[in-house]
C-alpha cells in the first residue's frame, strides 16, 4: 500500500517535476545547489523542506510579534491600574504566551514530525528494497552492492543507485565516526565503527547529487566528498554487470601496452588497493573502475586526462595528511605510466 502511494506521488512529480523544479529554481535562485536541502529530489527530503517552510513562517510571526510587543511597551503611555487588574493582565500574558502558545506549537510540530520520521525507517516492505552498503574511511568512501546479480560489486567514492525505488543504505565506519548524507534525498545517519546503521532513501528520477561526510572525522573531513548518481533501473543493472569481477579482470589484464604499469602497481600499490583480478588490498579505495569515475581523491579534482598522474605526484599537497604515503621514491616515468594505465580502467 505504502509503495503504491509512493509510486503515485512520484509519478505526479515526474510529470510535473521538470518545469516545476525549473520555475521554483528560478524563483528561489538561492536555494539550488548540489547539496541543498532546499532543493529536494526525494520524498523524505521534500517532507522536511515542507516542514521547514511552515516552521520558518510560524517562527517569523512569533519573533516579530514578541519583539513588537516588547518594543511597544517602551512607547506606550502609562495606564493607572488597580492591583487586581494588573494581576489579570499579567496572568493573561503568562498563560497565553508562556503556556498556550508553546504547548500548541510543539503539539502540532510533533504531530507532523513523527509520521515524517517514519518514512525514513527501514520498515518491512512487501518487496524488499535493494541494499547498498556504504563504509566511511579516513577520508574516502567504500561502496558495496551485496545484492548484485552474479556476486558482490565494490567501488569507491561514487554511489550509483536506481531512481524511483526505495533503497536501504546500510552504513558503518571503518576507523572513526563518519556520517552518510545525501542532502537532496533526505536525512543523515552516522557511520559508527562496530555498528551498522540503516536508512531508507529514494530518488525521484535520474540525477546527480552531491554528498559529503557530515560528522567531523579529522583533518581532511572537508575533502570527503561522495559522487551520487541516480539512474534508471536498467542502466543501473548494466552498470552493476559491467563491474562484476570477471568483466573487470579482463579489463585489467587485456591490455599488453601497460605491462610495466601493472608490474609497478603490484610492487607499490597492490597491498593497499584492489583492482579486480589483480590485487585485493583493502586499506585504500578500490581502483577497479577508476577511469570511469568523475573525480579523484574523494572529490578533490575532476577526472580528466593526466589527472591520475598529477594526483599520484602531488596527492600530499592536494589533500594534506591523506593516508597514502608520498611517492617521492618512485620515478616520475613510473608514476606517469601508472596514471595512464589506471585511467584506462573504464568498464
Amino acid at each position: 500500500m505504502r509503495l503504491i502511494i509512493q509510486r503515485l506521488t512520484q509519478q505526479r512529480v515526474n510529470s510535473l517535476g521538470t518545469p516545476l523544479a525549473l520555475s521554483v529554481g528560478l524563483l528561489l535562485a538561492g536555494c539550488a545547489g548540489d547539496k541543498s536541502i532546499l532543493d529536494p529530489a526525494g520524498q523524505a527530503a521534500r517532507d522536511v523542506v515542507m516542514i521547514w517552510w511552515v516552521m520558518l513562517g510560524f517562527g517569523t510571526v512569533v519573533l516579530v510579534l514578541v519583539t513588537a510587543f516588547w518594543l511597544y511597551t517602551f512607547k506606550r503611555k502609562e495606564v493607572i491600574r488597580t492591583p487586581a487588574e494588573e494581576r489579570t493582565i499579567a496572568r493573561r500574558w503568562i498563560i497565553g504566551g508562556g503556556i498556550v502558545l508553546p504547548v500548541a506549537s510543539i503539539t502540532a510540530l510533533l504531530a507532523f514530525g513523527v509520521p515524517t520520521g517514519q518514512r525514513l525507517l527501514p520498515l518491512p516492505l512487501a518487496e524488499p528494497p535493494e541494499v547498498i552498503e556504504v563504509i566511511g574511511h579516513q577520508w574516502w568512501w567504500e561502496v558495496r552492492y551485496p545484492g548484485a546479480e552474479g556476486g558482490e560489486v565494490v567501488t569507491s567514492n561514487q554511489l550509483i543507485m536506481p531512481a524511483g525505488e526505495p533503497i536501504d543504505f546500510h552504513v558503518t565506519g571503518a576507523d572513526v565516526i563518519h556520517a552518510f548524507w545525501v542532502p537532496r534525498l533526505g536525512g543523515k545517519i552516522d557511520m559508527i565503527p562496530g555498528r551498522v546503521n540503516k536508512i531508507r532513501l529514494e530518488a525521484d528520477e535520474p540525477a546527480v547529487f552531491g554528498a559529503q561526510c557530515a560528522e567531523f572525522c579529522g583533518a581532511q573531513h572537508a575533502q570527503m566528498q561522495l559522487y551520487v548518481e541516480a539512474v534508471e533501473r536498467d542502466e543501473y543493472d548494466a552498470w552493476l554487470a559491467a563491474r562484476q569481477t570477471e568483466a573487470l579482470s579482463s579489463l585489467a589484464a587485456n591490455d599488453q601496452q601497460h605491462e610495466t604499469a601493472r608490474e609497478a602497481f603490484m610492487t607499490h600499490c597492490a597491498s593497499c588497493h584492489r583492482v579486480a583480478g589483480l590485487s585485493s588490498g583493502e586499506e585504500g579505495p578500490d581502483l577497479s573502475d577508476l577511469g570511469s569515475r568523475t573525480s579523484l581523491g574523494a572529490g578533490i579534482m575532476a577526472m580528466e586526462e593526466g589527472a591520475v598522474t598529477h594526483w599520484l605526484k602531488h596527492h600530499q599537497r592536494l589533500k594534506p595528511g591523506n593516508k597514502m604515503p608520498p611517492h617521492d621514491d618512485i620515478e616520475t616515468a613510473t608514476l606517469e605510466s601508472l596514471g595512464a594505465w589506471l585511467e584506462t580502467l573504464t568498464p
Binding site: G30, G33, D34, K35, I37, L38, A45, I51, W52, L63, V66, T67, F69, W70, T73, F74, E86, R87, I89, A90, W93, I94, G96, G97, G98, I99, P102, I106, L109, L110, G113, V114, T116, G117, Q118, L120, L121, V176, I177, W181, G186, G187, K188, I189, D190, P193, G194, R195, N197, G210, A214, F216, C217, G218, A219, Q220, H221, Q223, P320, G321
Partner: protein, 846 residues
C-alpha cells in the same frame, strides 16, 4: 517570629562611630598587598579576578573565531592548513565554553551573591580561592597547547575514536582531557559553595520566597553544575585512561563503545547550555524590574520556570545524538522532552513582557542589550524547537544551521545579558558611570554584526554546508553567504572592542556615579561603591523582596552600623547562618581568613596535570600526595584551631558559633559535594550497565573475577566503622565525648582494613585491563572504592588527632558529623558496587 537583634551600640565604653567600625572591620577583612595578595580569599576580589581572567580567555576565543571566519571567507582558501584549522575550531569552542562562559558567570555570581543576600562573603572562602587558581592554571595549560601547535583537534566534543590515541596520536587530546578536568574542579567548587551560601547565609528574615530572583537562578545553575559536570569528568578520566594505559572503554574491538563517550559528554553538554543560560536569564530578571520601575510580575512563575528548566535540561541529551541510530521511539522521548523545555523559556519571556507592559520601562544602555538579547534569544529558541524535531534534525544536524542556532542561543542567551549586567553593575564595581555614546555604538555594531554573521549562516547550512570544514569548493551557492558572514563577523568584533574599550576607559574617565544610580531594589546597592571587603558594616533584617524600594534609608542605617553583627572586637570574620527556608538566624558563621593553602594545593594539582601530560607518572603520583597533604593541612585550620575560633564567646543573646553546633553550613557543603560525587558514581554505573547491555563486542567471563567473600569482608569492616561513628556522633549530640579519640582511631583502623581487603580482591582478580573493557571498568569501580575508603580512613584518623589537640570534642562537636556523612556515602556506594560488579553478573550470568 522571634528575632535576635544585636544593635551596634552596646552599653558601656565601646560606643563607636561608623568610621571606627569601618576601620575595625577593615582590619579583619581587608586585603593584603604585594605577594600576600595571592592569599586573598575574599569573594569581591576573587569574583573580579574570575571575570577579568574570563575576559582574557574571551579575547583568545574571539581571536580564534576571527581566524575561522577569515579562512571561510572565500572558497578554497589556504590561509590555514587543515590540521591548524581543526585545532583552531576545537579551541574556539573549548575556550568559549569552558574558559569564558562558565567561569565568567561563576565570577559574576561569586561577586554578586553575598552582596545580594546580605552576607559578607561566600561560605567557603578558601574554596573560592582554590577554584580560581585551578581555573587559571588549567586555562593556561590548555591555552599553552595553542602556542605549541599541539592543541586538541578533534572538535570541542572530542568524539572517540577520533580523539583516541590511534587517530590522535599527539598530545592534543591529553591537553583537552587533563586541562578541562582541572578547570572543572573550579566549576564544581564554585557550584558547591554557591549552593550552600544561598541556602544558609542569607541575611536575617530573607525567607526563600523573599530571595532576589538572581539568587534563585544561581541556585539552580550551581546545582546543575554539581550534578551535570561529573559525567564529563568520568568520561574524561576514562578516555585519558584509554589513551595513556590502553584500557578499551570506547574501542569496539576491546568490548568498548564509542557511543558511551557521546552519552557521557552530552549528559554534561546539554545541561551546560542551561548552566550558561540560567544566570544570564537571572540578569534579565534582575534588570527588567529595575528599568520598568516595578516588581516583576509572577515571581512564583519564574521560580517555577527555573526549576523546570533545571530538571528538563537533564532529559534532553540524546537530541545531540539523533543521527547515531538510536531506535526512533527512544528518539521520540527526547524529541518531546526537548520541545517541553520551550514552555519554561516562553513563560520567562512573557513574564518579562508583562513586567514591561505593566511598568514604565526606560531604554537605558543596559536595557538596549536586554532588547538585543530578546530578539536574538527568541530566534535561537525557535530554531531550537525546530531542531528538536527528529526528521528536520537529521537534515540540518552538523551543518552550519546548527552552528548558527548554537551561536544564537549562546551569544544571545549569555553574551548579551552578560554585557547588559556588566553595564548595570559597572557603577558598583568602580563607582563610575560608563559612556552612553561609546556603549550605544558598541551595541549597534555588535548587534548588526552578530546577525549579519549568523542569520546568514542558517541559510548556508540549509544549502548543505557541513560544520567544521576547513574549505569548500565554489559552485555550491555558499560563496556569497560565507563572505557576508565573514565581513559581518569583523563588524561584530569591532563592536565588542568598543564595549571593552568603554569598560576600560570608564574606570578612569567615567563620571562618578551617584548612590544606587538605577534606583534598584536589591541589597547589593547598599554597598559602598566600590564595595568594601566586608560588604556591610551591619546586616539588616529583611521583610520584603525589595528592601531598597521599601526602605530607601537602609543603605545609610546599615553603614552606620544600626543593624546586626556590627562588632569586630573578637577578630573573627563573622556573618549570619540562617535557616534555609525561613531565614531565621540559627548560628554565627565564622569564616577563615586569607590562606596560602588553596594556592599551594592548586599548584600541586597543576604539577599533577603537567606531569600526566608529559607522562612522568612517578612525579604525578608524588604531586597527588603533596596536593592531598596541602588540602588536609588546610582542613586542619578549622573548629577550635588557633587560626579558626579558639575562643567561642559570643555576645549575650547571640546564637553560638557554627563550629560549636551540630549543623553548621559545612554539613551542607559536604552534602552538596556528595551530590556531585553521587552523580559521578551514577555515571559510572550507567557506563557499566551501558557497556554490558549495548556494547557491540562486550565480553564477560563465565564467572565474575571478583572474590565475593573478600568484598563482603571489606563491606563488613566498612559497615562496622559506620555503626561506631554513628554512635559517637549521637553521643556528641548529647554533649558526651568520652572515648571519642579511641573511637575515631578504631574506625580509621576499620577503614584501612576495608581498603586492604578491597585491594587484595582487586589484585587477586588478575584483571586484564588492557584486553577487555569489562576488566577495565571493574578496575575503575574498585579504584573508586579504594580512594573513598582510604580518604574516609585518613579523615577519621585526623579526627582522632584533633580530639587530642582539643580542636574537636563536646565543646566543638561539629566535624565528626561532617565526616560521618562521608562514611555513610561510602557505605551505600560500596554495597551498590558489590551488588553491581560482583553479585549481579553471578545472578544473571554473561
Amino acid at each position: 517570629m522571634t528575632t535576635i537583634n544585636r544593635e551596634a551600640t552596646p552599653e558601656g565604653d565601646n560606643i563607636k562611630g561608623p568610621n571606627q567600625l569601618h576601620n575595625d572591620l577593615h582590619d579583619i577583612w581587608g586585603n593584603p598587598r604585594g605577594l600576600k595578595a595571592l592569599t586573598i580569599v575574599n569573594h569581591t576580589t576573587l569574583g573580579l579576578r574570575f571575570m577579568v581572567t574570563g575576559m582574557v580567555f574571551f579575547l583568545i576565543g574571539g581571536l580564534l573565531a576571527m581566524l575561522v571566519r577569515t579562512q571561510l571567507a572565500l572558497p578554497d582558501q589556504d590561509f590555514m592548513s587543515p590540521d591548524i584549522y581543526s585545532q583552531v575550531t576545537t579551541m574556539h569552542g573549548t575556550v568559549m565554553m569552558f574558559l569564558f562562559a562558565i567561569p565568567m558567570l561563576e565570577g559574576l555570581a561569586i561577586y554578586m551573591i553575598p552582596k545580594m543576600i546580605g552576607a559578607r562573603d561566600l561560605v567557603c572562602p578558601r574554596l573560592t580561592s582554590l577554584g580560581y587558581w585551578c581555573y587559571l592554571f588549567g586555562g593556561i595549560i590548555l591555552s599553552f597547547s595553542l602556542v605549541l601547535e599541539m592543541a586538541p583537534d578533534s572538535g570541542w566534543f572530542m568524539y572517540t575514536p577520533l580523539s583516541s590515541s590511534e587517530y590522535s596520536p599527539g598530545l592534543g587530546s591529553d591537553f583537552w582531557l587533563l586541562g578541562i578536568t582541572f578547570v572543572e574542579i573550579s566549576a564544581l567548587s564554585a557550584g558547591v559553595e554557591l549552593v550552600v551560601s544561598i541556602l544558609r547565609t542569607r541575611t536575617q528574615g530573607m525567607a526563600l520566597h523573599k530571595m532576589p530572583l538572581f539568587a534563585w537562578y544561581i541556585l539552580a545553575m550551581a546545582l546543575m553544575i554539581v550534578v551535570g559536570f561529573p559525567p564529563l569528568i568520568l568520561g574524561s578520566i576514562l578516555l585519558e585512561l584509554e589513551r595513556a594505559v590502553g584500557m578499551p572503554f570506547f574501542e569496539v574491538a576491546g568490548g568498548g563503545d564509542p557511543i558511551l563517550w557521546q552519552h557521557l559528554f552530552w549528559l554534561f553538554g546539554h545541561p551546560e547550555v542551561y548552566i550558561i543560560f540560567l544566570p544570564a536569564a537571572g540578569i534579565v530578571s534582575t534588570l527588567i524590574p529595575v528599568f520598568a520601575g516595578r516588581p516583576i510580575v509572577g515571581y512564583g512563575w519564574v521560580v517555577f520556570a527555573i526549576t523546570v528548566t533545571g530538571f528538563i535540561s537533564f532529559g534532553l541529551w540524546v537530541h545531540h545524538m539523533f543521527t547515531v541510530g538510536i531506535p526512533q521511539l527512544a528518539q521520540a522521548f527526547f524529541s518531546a522532552a526537548s520541545m517541553l523545555v520551550a514552555v519554561p523559556t516562553a513563560i520567562q519571556v512573557f513574564v518579562w513582557l508583562a513586567t514591561l507592559w505593566l511598568g514604565k520601562p526606560k531604554m537605558k544602555l543596559p536595557m538596549l542589550w536586554i532588547v538585543g538579547f530578546l530578539i536574538i534569544f527568541v530566534c535561537g529558541g525557535l530554531t531550537g524547537v525546530m531542531l528538536a524535531l527528529v526528521p528536520f534534525n537529521w537534515q540540518v544536524h552538523d551543518t552550519h544551521f546548527v552552528v548558527a542556532h548554537m551561536h544564537y542561543v549562546l551569544v544571545g542567551g549569555m553574551f548579551f545579558p552578560l554585557i547588559a549586567g556588566l553595564y548595570y553593575w559597572l557603577p558598583l564595581f568602580s563607582g563610575r558611570m560608563p559612556s552612553e555614546t561609546l556603549g550605544k555604538w558598541g551595541f549597534w555594531l555588535t548587534f548588526s554584526g552578530f546577525n549579519g554573521t549568523f542569520l546568514i549562516m542558517h541559510w548556508t547550512g540549509l544549502l548543505g554546508m557541513p560544520r567544521r570544514v576547513y574549505s569548500y569548493e565554489t559552485g555550491m551557492g555558499w560563496d556569497i553567504f560565507n563572505l557576508l558572514s565573514s565581513m559581518s563577523s569583523f563588524i561584530m568584533s569591532a563592536g565588542i572592542a568598543m564595549v571593552l574599550l568603554d569598560f576600560a576607559l570608564h574606570f578612569r574617565f567615567g563620571k562618578p556615579a551617584k548612590h544606587n544610580p538605577w534606583n534598584a531594589d536589591t541589597l547589593e546597592w547598599a554597598n559602598s561603591m566600590p564595595p568594601s571587603a566586608y560588604n556591610f558594616v551591619s546586616l539588616p533584617k529583611i521583610e520584603t523582596r525589595h528592601p531598597l524600594w521599601d526602605d530607601p534609608d537602609l543603605p545609610r542605617t546599615m553603614a552606620e552600623g544600626q543593624h546586626s553583627l556590627a562588632v569586630a572586637t573578637h577578630g573573627r570574620r563573622e556573618m549570619w547562618g540562617t535557616d534555609p527556608l525561613t531565614g531565621k538566624v540559627r548560628e554565627i558563621i565564622h569564616l577563615p581568613g586569607n590562606s596560602w593553602w588553596p594556592l599551594f594545593a592548586a599548584m600541586a594539582l597543576a604539577v599533577v596535570c603537567v606531569s600526566l601530560l608529559t607522562r612522568l607518572y612517578p612525579l604525578a603520583g608524588i604531586a597527588v600526595v603533596v596536593a592531598g597533604l596541602f588540602l588536609l593541612r588546610w582542613s586542619w585550620e578549622n573548629g577550635a584551631h588557633p587560626k579558626a575560633a579558639p575562643d567561642a564567646e559570643v555576645a549575650p543573646g547571640d546564637p553560638p558559633l557554627h563550629s560549636r553546633t551540630m549543623d553548621g553550613p559545612g554539613l551542607w557543603a559536604m552534602s552538596i559535594t556528595l551530590l556531585a560525587n553521587g552523580s559521578f558514581f551514577l555515571s559510572y554505573l550507567f557506563g557499566w550497565f551501558y557497556l554490558w547491555t549495548v556494547s557491540p563486542e562486550w565480553r564477560m567471563p563465565e564467572t565474575s573475577p571478583l572474590s565475593l567473600v573478600g568484598l563482603i569482608l571489606a563491606g563488613v569492616a566498612l559497615t562496622a566503622g559506620v555503626v561506631i561513628l554513628e554512635k559517637l556522633v549521637r553521643g556528641l549530640r548529647q554533649g558526651k565525648d568520652a572515648g571519642l579519640a579511641v573511637g575515631m582511631y578504631s574506625i580509621s583502623a576499620l577503614g584501612f582494613v576495608q581498603v586492604a581487603v578491597t585491594l587484595w580482591v582487586l589484585l587477586s582478580a588478575d584483571l586484564a585491563v588492557t584486553e577487555t573493557s569489562h576488566d577495565a571498568i571493574i578496575m575503575v569501580g574498585l579504584a573508586y572504592a579504594l580512594l573513598h575508603g582510604g580518604l574516609g580512613a585518613v579523615l577519621t584518623l585526623l579526627q582522632g588527632l584533633r580530639v587530642g589537640y582539643g580542636y574537636v570534642g563536646a565543646h566543638a562537636p561539629f566535624e565528626p558529623a561532617v565526616v560521618a556523612q562521608w562514611w555513610r556515602y561510602n557505605l551505600v556506594t560500596f554495597w551498590i558496587l558489590v551488588g553491581a560488579l560482583a553479585v549481579l553478573p553471578r545472578v544473571i550470568g554473561s
